[in-house]
Each structure stands twice: as C-alpha cells, then as structure tokens.
Subunit: 254 residues, 2 copies
C-alpha cells in the first residue's frame, strides 16, 4: 500500500513544488513506483515534470469529483517509475463546488484509496493556503513534509499549519504524522541561513531532516525545461541533495 506524503506549508515560495517534484523523481530513480499528485491550481508540479496542462482527459479535479482514473490517464514522465496526476486551473473552482458536501475534506482520500495501492509512494504537492485543497491533502496523507526556507520569517505560520494538522488528525485522519521538516534554499555563505537552520533544529530536534537542500540555480532552471533536476543536471548540488533526501526517507521506513 503506497505511503502518501503531502508537501505542505501555506507560506508561498518556500520550496513545496521543488521538493514534491524532486523527491518524487529521486524515489523513482531508486526504482520505487511513484505517483506525483498536483493539488495546486497553479500546476507548477505538473509543468515541472513536462506534462502539458491543457486538453487533459482526466485531472486531479476529476479525482476530487469521484472519477477514478484508468491507468492510461495517469501521465507518464521521462522517468519510467514516475507518473503524474496532473493539476488543472479548474481546481480553483472545486473548493466552492464541494464546500457544501459532507465529505468535502476527504475527497482526495477517497480518490487515492484504490489508486495508492498501485504505487510505493504518492507525493502530493499542496497549494500555499490553509483552505479546502490543503485540508484534503492533510486528510489523505500518512505523513507531511514541511519545507522551511532558510530566511528570517521561516517559522511563522508553522503554528497555524500544525494546529490545522492536529484538527485534521482528530476529525478525519488519526494516522497523520509529520514525516519531517526540510530546510530549503540554504546558502552556506550566508550567516542568516546558518542561524535559521540552528533555530529550527533547536526547536524541532530530530524531526528535522539531516539532509538540507542548498540554494542551487539548477533547481530554479529545471522547471523551465519541464524536467526534474536529476534529468537536467544529475551532478549538481540540488540533484545530490534530493537523492540524499530520498535515501534518508527510505532508511526511515525499512
């Protein structure tokens, strides 16, 4: 049964998509069967693995409305072991469409139930908000990874995220746990980066992944080629870091 991991943080631009895409790709390179689920209407994860966002016969929007995908509509990527459940701009409207349904927070969970069984890992990219789409991510996940940018205001908003996760755990999903906190965009020449990393470790201890993702221009460039960084520049520090993260994750679940 696939482990479902949601990449969540309501703060924008902290590395959720970069982490979802490159962790998924690194696990696929390790020959784990991975499904990348793009729950953000912006569709950055979908674009970052080279999937065309228009004219799709089936998307995450359909999944949330109860339409199970046949195998052929789960988009292949340039990596054999990585498939993508693509986003669509229609996701913007779905929060309104399902808001009056009793099961509005567990739509993703119902949809992923049968689907997750076909994979080793399901990696879910969440949008930058604490609305219904993110609630669905939290209700469906076995665990969450929280990326934190190595900048001064990194930890603010974490309180709101963890309170929301606790609520979801009580109301819908008792198995929900924090897989870990991931420091992103770390710049070793920058004192502030070191300070933030230290503060986060002091606060969260072993919940913080040993692996730190460095600021690396290749990670910013890869999406513009529709590729995970491992296919764009396998030797760069960004690629090494996400491979190390996948390894650290796998070691925890042997």
């Amino acid at each position: 049964m696939g482990r479902i991991i949601a990449i969540t943080n309501q703060k924008g631009g902290v590395g959720k998509t970069t982490t979802a895409v490159n962790l998924a790709a690194s696990l696929a390179v390790a020959e784990k069967k991975v499904l990348l689920v793009d729950m953000d209407p912006q569709g950055n994860a979908t674009q970052s693995v080279g999937v065309e966002r228009n004219g799709l016969p089936w998307t995450v929007y359909d999944l949330l409305l109860g339409v199970e995908p046949t195998d052929d509509v789960l988009k292949p990527t340039a990596l054999d072991f990585l498939r993508c459940a693509p986003s669509t701009r229609d996701l913007v409207g779905v929060e309104v469409e399902i808001v009056s349904e009793a099961d509005r927070a567990t739509r993703l969970r119902s949809g992923l139930g049968p689907l997750a069984a076909r994979f080793d890992f399901v990696i879910v990219d969440a949008p930058p908000s604490l609305g219904l789409l993110t609630l669905n991510c939290l209700a469906a996940a076995d665990a969450i990874i929280i990326p934190l940018q190595c900048e001064y205001f990194a930890m603010e908003g974490l309180g709101a995220l963890t309170s929301t996760a606790d609520l979801v755990k009580k109301s819908y999903n008792p198995r929900l746990e924090t897989e870990g906190i991931l420091l992103t965009m770390f710049d070793p020449r920058n004192n502030l980066s070191h300070q933030v990393a230290k503060e986060v470790r002091d606060f969260f201890g072993s919940k913080v992944f040993r692996t730190i993702i460095p600021r690396n221009v290749r990670l910013g460039e890869a999406p513009s080629f529709g590729k995970p960084v491992i296919l764009y520049d396998a030797a760069c520090p960004g690629a090494h870091a996400y491979l190390a993260l996948a390894k650290e994750l796998l070691a925890r679940h042997r």
Copy 2:
C-alpha cells in the same frame, strides 16, 4: 494629499514586504513624509521597521473597524520621516467580521481618507492572497506596484491579479493604476534571471521599473534587526537599489 501605493502580488515570497519597507524607508530618507501601512496579518513589515507587535493600543485592525488614529498611536520608526500603521494577528479574523457589510471592500479607503492627507506617501504592504484584505488595498490605492521574482513561474497569477484590479477599478476605484512592475531577487550570474527579466520587459514594456532589485543577503538580514536595509547597511547593493527605486518613482511624479 498623500499618494497611496499598494505593494501587491498574491504569490508568496516575491518581495512585497521587502519592497514596502525599503521603498518607504528610501522615500523617508529623501525627506518625504511616509506612512507604512501593514495589511498582512503576519506583520512582517511591522517587524521589519522594529515595531513591537504585541500590546499595541491601535492597529490596522482598528482602522478597518472605523477607529481613526490619533497622531501618537502611529508608530515612529528609527527614521524621522517614516511612521508605521502596525498589523496585528487579529487581522486574520477581520475578513470574516466585515464580510457581510456593504462597505467591506472600502474600509481601508475610508480609514485612509483623512490619514493620507498628513503624508506625502502611504505605502501599503498587502498579504499573499486575493481575499478581502487585498481587495481593500486595491480599493484604497492610487496605484499598485507589483513585485515579480526573477524565477521561472514569476508571471503566473498575474492574470488573476490584474483581473481583480480591473474589477476593483470598475466597481470602487476608477483612479486605480499600475505604478509599475518591479523585478526582484535578480541574480546577474544566473541565466534564468536574465531570461525572466527579458520576458517581463517584452511583455510589459515601460510599465517595468528601470530599477531592478538584486538578490542581496543584506535585504534578508535587515528584518532580523528590525531595520530597513538603509539603516542596516547603507552601502550594500540592496540599499542602493531601493534608493534608486524611490528616485525613479519621485521623478515620475514631479
């Protein structure tokens, strides 16, 4: 009558607060009377000018509920010409509190009416969303500045922002215009930065400020000292850039 400029972009982490704080500070250094209004419940702008966020007798929350500030509650900063209308976490709730009022989108405008007259510029820091707080910023502003991060997905979401601004212009605020688009976090050694800058200029032409804000670690560090960058490291590239932006802005309005 003070010119009211809102710094808006619903995308997170693109440099709204850094721009609001440092443009306001640079105008104050040019001896313009400036009020920095923090409309983000996170209160990053408030913290970045060294204002304590707890135990405040008056905040933007009170302004939105119709309580006009006496001069003494507009917080002073380390710059003589810069005052701050501070944020508070209570702002999170205000969208719900005023949502059923007929004038819910023009509360900031009503509040700033008498207040703006005491200043040359009012710089408003907007939150990363297109909700009621941002609508208030758009309905109150003479003009908006849109920061765009020099990254691959920079321009997405701009469509939603400009459509929202057009709606506000039609329904509430016919004088609303775009002061300009500001490229932020530009890294000259990075090809992607140059590509994004070129694409944005090709698309928006003279609406794009000549001034580009470079990626500069000092801009990330200054908030941790509660200072605008000009008081933290006046000689750094970030300080120079925001002084140049203030100069470019003033030249347009002679």
